[in-house]
């Protein structure tokens, strides 16, 4: 066979043509299947006289929701009810993720501690929490709450302004005061200032070698500026204390048993996994790195910050992302203990409207959005962590 023969390969044997052909073929099949399912479903829903479409979003929901970050009443629309659910899911996920990372890091580091007791305790924690299904843990915390705590009329009052009862935890919060807005804005200013200070200190150190105590100065700024603002506006100290009125506490801030049980369950469960991720990350940095860093005279905290952590983070971040996603998705178990998260509200909506296909589509869409934005953020952070090393 000559080269000329080889060039005259018929077009249907050309690998490039074939690749494109099959890809188009597969695409057509998937498209056809989707079209078949959608059109057939619509015809059948119509035949069974089941309503379809998203028109229900505009209708009055007519059901009440236990807790909400925005004002909501049964006269509001399904759309607003669903939004309340989204916010509730975001609330528990966001607080949960932050608490999980903190607790997980502590337990993970403790696992490597040279102290026998500390490392054993954290090992026990990890093993127990990982092996008990999270749904059981939720039931457990919820039951502890309503079984063991007294009714509001006999509420426990361990610290002034804090009331524990089977309706939740009522906490005193500072009474609304114009100073609060200023305190909050000075806090934001302080955080931005620290961010730039850190950049400046880094550049200066790279150019001149002079070290600047960013941590101490930064802490001073973040604590000091809001305190100054507080003093400047007459240091308001009035507190909004919860008071027993009728059946329950009014005033202050109340955290429901459902929210606390869900948060506790999710955080304690996921933190066990995060602890293992952190431990694996730290152990992935070879001991020689640490010894080398100490040999050139770096202090222990600098060894951790400049040598160990940048390399460990590389290993930690990808599995950490998946744990965050897990926590967000597991928050849908809220239905079991009655926290009005998005799935719970969507469930009720589906049942009251009878439109389960639309409802499930919404649920999938919302969780997809949560997951994609979490991974987008973590990917961005991962990229930064990668750039830091070498």
């Amino acid at each position: 066979m000559t080269i000329a023969d080889a060039e005259k390969v018929p077009f249907y044997l050309n690998p490039k043509v074939r690749a494109v052909f099959f890809q188009i073929g597969v695409l057509c099949m998937v498209g056809l299947l989707a079209w078949y399912l959608v059109s057939n479903t619509l015809t059948n829903l119509e035949r069974q006289n089941i309503a379809s479409g998203f028109g229900f979003i505009q209708k009055e929901a007519a059901f009440e929701i236990g807790e909400s970050l925005i004002s909501y009443g049964s006269a509001d629309t399904y759309g607003r009810a669903l939004f309340v659910g989204v916010l509730n899911t975001l609330k528990v996920s966001l607080i949960g993720i932050i608490a999980t990372v903190i607790l997980g890091t502590i337990v993970g580091v403790a696992r490597l501690s040279s102290n026998w007791l500390v490392s054993r305790l954290s090992k026990i924690y990890i093993e127990v929490m990982q092996d008990v299904p999270v749904l059981l843990q939720l039931f457990f915390w919820y039951a502890i709450f309503y079984e063991s705590l007294p009714s509001p009329r006999q509420a426990l009052n361990p610290v002034a302004g804090v009331f524990l009862c089977n309706r939740g935890v009522a906490v005193a919060i500072p009474e609304a005061h114009p100073a609060h807005a200023y305190i909050l804005s000075t806090l934001v200013i302080a955080i931005v200032a620290v961010f730039f200070l850190r950049r400046w200190a880094k550049t200066r150190q790279e150019q001149t070698g002079k070290y600047f105590p960013v941590f101490r100065v930064g802490l001073g700024l973040i604590l000091g500026l809001p305190t100054l603002a507080w003093v400047a506006f007459g240091s308001p100290t009035a507190m909004d204390v919860p008071v027993l009125q009728g059946f329950n506490f009014t005033g202050g801030m109340t955290l429901s048993p459902e929210f606390i049980a869900l948060l506790l369950g999710l955080v304690l469960y996921t933190a066990a996994f995060v602890a293992e991720v952190v431990r694996a990350g730290i152990q992935s940095v070879s001991k020689g790195q640490q010894e080398a860093a100490m040999a050139i005279g770096l202090r222990p905290n600098l060894v951790l910050n400049l040598v160990i952590l940048p390399q460990a983070l590389r290993v930690i971040i990808p599995p950490l992302t998946s744990q965050m996603l897990n926590l967000t998705k597991n928050s849908s178990l809220a239905v079991a203990i009655g926290y009005p998260d998005f799935v719970s509200v969507a469930n009720t909506t589906m049942n009251q409207t009878g439109q389960s296909i639309e409802g499930v589509a919404l649920i999938m869409l919302v969780y997809l959005m949560f997951s994609l934005s979490t991974s987008a953020f973590m990917n961005w952070y991962n990229k930064r962590a990668r750039l830091v090393e070498r």
Binding site: R47, A62, V335, S356, M364
Partner: protein, 339 residues
């Protein structure tokens, strides 16, 4: 995990809805299968709950057994599927079950936008409130600010919202999908009151640790006609389920019980002769054997017997007949003529 389950349901709905076009009627499917799949509550004593030996008992269960007796001549040919309030309607829509006997309230939107049909009512109920006696509340109007345990996806949830809104009272719902979990939370004191249909409140109270410590408030805030449900568009199956419930009521009116039904076969009354199939015709019209009513009454009993043994005054629920008495006794139970 919850999300996953919902996805599975959605896919099932889509697949079954799309496969529905070529399917035969429910009666043929049921006959081919050899048993009926009935959706029940599974957690309400007196209506549908398995006993300690695993045998299903209750008013709704007996309704399903009556349908099986009518179709197969054997009231045991039923498979029970316990469903939550949220799952029940999609389960029926997606053909997972043949009939829903799960204290479900007949409403306009369920019959129209949900694509379902309710048959003859088998229990007339109304929504009430259960409170611990030591709460010191004597009327539902005093419940302003209360925390209320309620099942999601029910008419109860909507009625409660309407009730508090129209009386200008604040309230806080605690919404748990699983009936058992919800009741546990209420009896442990998580809520000030539990709201549901009065029959269910009586049922939950009867199985609670200290039934004497709880009372049902006098207000009944809604009408809850509870009826078996079938899918829209299968008229033959609708007729069978509908007339099975009617037959239970009519039998009581005729005074036919499971004990005297054999003697009643010899009755001279032409109405009873038609009813029991001594004069043939009724069963055939429904696509069933002419002995269908005889089988129902012989194996399950009439409505009065079913009521008495499951929820009546001599049971732990202790519910008087009230609205559920025969029309001849001042109640609402009234069957159309069997002719």
């Amino acid at each position: 995990m919850k999300v996953f389950k919902l996805c599975v349901i959605a896919v099932a709905v889509i697949v079954f809805a799309s496969a529905g076009l070529s399917m035969a009627g429910t009666l043929d499917e049921v006959k081919a299968r050899g048993y009926i799949i009935a959706g029940v509550n599974g957690g309400v004593f007196g209506f549908s709950m398995p006993n300690e030996k695993g045998a299903w008992l209750g008013l709704d269960v007996d309704t399903a057994r009556a349908i099986a007796a009518a179709v197969f001549g054997d009231s045991d040919k039923v498979k029970y599927q316990a469903l939550t309030a949220v799952q029940r309607l999609p389960a029926l829509q997606s053909k997972e079950i043949d009939v829903l006997c799960r204290n479900t309230t007949q409403t306009l939107s369920r019959e129209t936008t949900n694509g379902l049909n309710f048959v003859q009512v088998n229990y007339y109920d109304g929504q009430g409130f259960l409170v611990p006696k030591n709460l010191g509340v004597r009327s539902a109007k005093e419940l302003g600010g209360a925390t209320v345990c309620v099942l999601p996806g029910t008419t109860t949830e909507l009625n409660a919202a309407d009730f508090f809104r129209s009386n200008d009272m604040q309230w806080k719902p605690v919404v748990i999908e699983n009936t058992a979990e919800l009741n546990k939370a209420f009896f442990a004191g998580r809520c000030d009151c539990l709201t549901s249909d009065v029959s269910q409140l009586a049922a939950q109270r009867s199985v609670s640790p200290n039934p004497k410590n709880y009372m049902i408030l006098p207000e009944v805030i809604s009408k809850e006609p509870l009826a078996p449900v079938v899918r829209h568009g299968d008229d033959q199956w609708y007729d069978i389920v509908n007339w099975t419930v009617m037959a239970l009521i009519q039998a009581e009116e005729f005074g036919i019980t499971s004990r005297n039904v054999d003697r009643m076969m010899k009755s001279k009354n032409p109405g009873i002769q038609r009813f029991l199939g001594v004069t043939p015709g009724m069963g055939k019209a429904l696509g069933l054997s002419d002995k269908w009513v005889y089988n129902i009454i012989k194996q399950v009993g009439n409505y009065g017997e079913i009521y008495a043994r499951n929820v009546g005054p001599d049971t732990p629920l202790g519910l008087e007949r009230g609205l559920n008495a025969l029309w001849t006794d001042g109640g609402l139970m009234y069957a159309a003529p069997f002719r």
